[in-house]
């Protein structure tokens, strides 16, 4: 059979990772039709997907994640792949949190490929050492360290000005200061009272305070350029998901030695995840290739290679972590622990927590607040509540 896969793993390590999947599919005698659309974290791909779906010609599989899976499922576009899942025992292999995301009405419609941890803090140990600071564990420690770094003449925090980068930092603070409960209420359930509440104001105030530790040129910097600042020692730290490791390794840096990774301050006991998955579309004809694809995605071979390239950890818990770096190993351990403790939270900034419309509202207010010196945290909280309500 033939399987057309719409995805946005288009360049570098990602593309290589996608290539392995392709090889696996083709080894089984199927044809892989590659339909890659890069751009804006999958925005372009989603647009294309919609137009394909509307023209009655959707691809067999597409990279869809988080709540969007539910939306597509509810519209009746997605195929039931329980056959594959049952046979391979996905329910057992996947943590419940992950499994639930892959299901619509209790049936599997998508296969998970990885788990990204979003709440990471990266640092350049050289720079830290020169300024005489440790990697901070709390927000107070962070600001203390940042002050010293600033005094030492480096940029304490590397950052890029895109909305999703702002939102990533924002959710790290929300998780660190507010804790898992607050995070869930505010960023997952989008509860109006919580959004307006004092904790949110505190979070926002802290968030804004960070600005003083970033360089003025951050506006519209890409995340990888920010990472480059850390690599070059121009900046000390960066908040970013674990895909940032790719940049470090590309520059020949080794985790734990040339750069440090740790959960964002105050989020030691939490894990905000970003899980990529491939959803299967209902097809008119032969779906053997599609099912094979679903199966292969979950097989350890793919999960390992793919995640080694991507910086994330495998979605299924039984893959050996031997080849992975320190950060990934830590990620795995934390994930399992948090899964047990119930402190896994979906990343709002990466579209795992809320539907895109609410996410958009968050982005708008957060990024505007961050860039607008005139706006107070209270106003921002107020607006956040209003915007989120309007978007729902």
């Amino acid at each position: 059979g033939e399987v057309e896969v719409l995805h946005w793993w288009t360049a570098g390590g990602e593309a290589k990772a996608a290539g392995t999947l392709r090889a696996l599919v083709e080894q089984e005698g199927h044809t892989w039709k590659d339909f890659a659309v890069a751009g804006g974290g999958g925005e372009a791909a989603l647009t294309v997907l919609k137009s394909r779906a509307v023209s009655g010609n959707p691809p067999a599989a597409a990279q869809i994640k988080g709540p969007a899976l539910q939306e597509w499922g509810e519209l009746g576009f997605l195929a039931n792949i329980d056959v594959v899942a049952d046979k391979a025992g996905w329910d057992k292999l996947l943590p419940k949190t992950v499994a639930d995301i892959m299901k619509v009405d209790g049936h599997y419609v998508a296969a998970p490929v990885n788990v990204h941890r979003v709440n990471w803090l990266y640092a350049n140990p050289e720079v830290l050492k020169q300024a005489g600071v440790e990697l901070p564990q709390t927000w107070d420690a962070f600001f203390a360290a940042a002050d010293k770094l600033k005094a030492a003449g480096v940029i304490p925090l590397a950052h890029g000005g895109q909305a999703w980068q702002d939102a990533t930092v924002f959710e790290d603070i929300a998780l660190g200061l507010g804790g898992v409960e607050f995070y869930r209420k505010a960023l997952v359930e989008a509860d109006e009272a919580t959004l307006k509440g004092p904790t949110m104001v505190k979070v926002l105030t802290t968030f804004k305070r960070l600005k003083g530790y970033m360089d003025p040129n951050r506006a519209n910097r890409l995340w990888n350029d920010a990472t480059a600042l850390v690599i070059n020692g121009k900046a000390a730290m960066q908040f970013m998901g674990d895909w940032a490791k790719g940049e470090f390794s590309a520059a020949g840096k080794v985790a734990g030695k040339d750069y440090l990774c740790a959960p964002a301050p105050g989020t030691e006991q939490a894990f905000s995840y970003n899980i990529d998955s491939i959803a299967m579309f209902k097809l008119k004809g032969d779906n053997t290739a599609q099912l094979a694809l679903a199966r292969l995605i979950m097989e350890p071979t793919f999960q390992e290679t793919f995640n080694l390239n991507k910086g994330s950890i495998p979605a299924r818990g039984d893959v050996s972590m031997d080849k992975f770096d320190d950060c990934a190993k830590r990620s795995r351990a934390d994930f399992d622990a948090d899964a047990k403790a119930g402190t896994l939270v979906p990343s709002m900034a990466h579209g795992m927590a809320v539907k895109t419309d609410v996410q958009g509202a968050f982005f708008d207010v957060v990024t505007n607040f961050f860039n607008d010196d005139a706006m107070s945290a209270e106003q921002a909280a107020e607006r956040l509540a209003k915007a989120v309500k309007a978007a729902k």
């Binding site: 288009t10 990602e14 290539g19 590659d34 372009a44 394909r52 509307v54 023209s55 690599i231 895909w243």
Partner: protein, 291 residues
């Protein structure tokens, strides 16, 4: 026109000044190109550390070769090469058809006015102000019905349709300046609608054809939205490839390859500019009509 034929075009200081202004502007236009060119021949480390306009310490053409033949654009690592054919297969017919129709439209609208012809033109023009994003979904549906979804003819159709307003505009406004007497004389000579067009108007339309082709070719060649939405797996135009190469979301950014790829993707358009530029000849109407 005009000053080419005049004896007393500016001389001396004025001339030097004109040259200076023109060259200064050229500098402004060239700046990004220089940046891109320099970047495309630097190794990645140098880009990370160096400054924008510094000359490369270690000149490398690796990025160009990679962009052309081996860069990954998805699970496919064959570079941009393979997209070129698609882009040509799409752009050439789309440009020719829309230019031809636009020319005839412009001619009919100026020299054969009828009640409502201005209205028709107005409506056509206004239409081009709908954001293309709006037409994305309904057009997808329409193409699906026509059985043209994800095919090159489908893309050609889309580009022709949405290019018509402007090609018509160019020609209409050019022909508006050509004396009606010429058409009248030809009518009396017994020439019909198309004969007049082909024999009398086309031979003096070179400058506007150039403009129109430049515009349309650029639009079609550089279009991403329609290209990505309506192309199929094997029919993707080069912009989609370029985008995939450049717009990686969470991977390592190879700026040098990106820049090389962009320059490669732009080459055909550049060639069109240089070739078509030759036909920016002087107008020929001078002397045909008095008064």
């Amino acid at each position: 026109m005009s000053l080419e034929s005049l004896s007393h075009a500016p001389r001396g200081h004025a001339r030097t000044l004109i040259h200076l202004v023109l060259i200064a502007w050229a500098g402004f236009y060239l700046l990004p190109l220089v940046v891109m060119l320099l970047t495309s021949v630097k190794p990645l480390e140098e880009i990370r550390s160096g400054t924008l306009l510094s000359l490369p310490h270690a000149l490398t053409f690796e990025p160009w070769i990679k962009a052309w033949s081996s860069a990954c654009t998805g699970a496919d690592c064959r570079g941009l090469e393979r997209f070129f054919v698609n882009s040509f297969a799409m752009a050439i017919p789309a440009v020719l058809i829309s230019t031809a129709i636009g020319a005839v439209n412009g001619y009919a609208l100026t020299k054969w006015r009828f009640k409502g012809s201005d209205l028709l033109f107005g409506l056509l023009l206004l239409g081009c102000f709908i954001p293309f994003q709006v037409v994305l979904l309904p057009m997808a549906q329409t193409l699906g019905w026509l059985g043209l979804a994800n095919t090159i003819p489908g893309l050609v159709l889309v580009h022709v349709i949405y290019g018509l307003a402007f090609t018509t505009l160019f020609f209409r406004n050019f022909y508006a300046g050509i004396p009606d007497e010429l058409i009248r004389a030809a009518q009396l000579d017994g020439a019909g609608f198309f004969t007049i067009f082909v024999r009398i108007l086309l031979p003096i339309s070179a400058p506007i054809i150039v403009v129109c082709v430049i515009w349309q070719f650029t639009q079609v060649w550089n279009d991403f939205l329609f290209g990505v939405a309506y192309s199929g797996n094997e029919t993707k135009p080069v912009t989609v490839g370029l985008n995939n190469l450049v717009n990686t979301s969470t991977g390592v950014k190879e700026y040098n390859v990106d820049m090389a790829a962009a320059l490669i993707a732009a080459l055909p358009t550049l060639v069109v500019y240089v070739l078509a530029g030759k036909y920016f000849v002087r107008g020929l109407t001078a002397g045909a009509v008095k008064g």
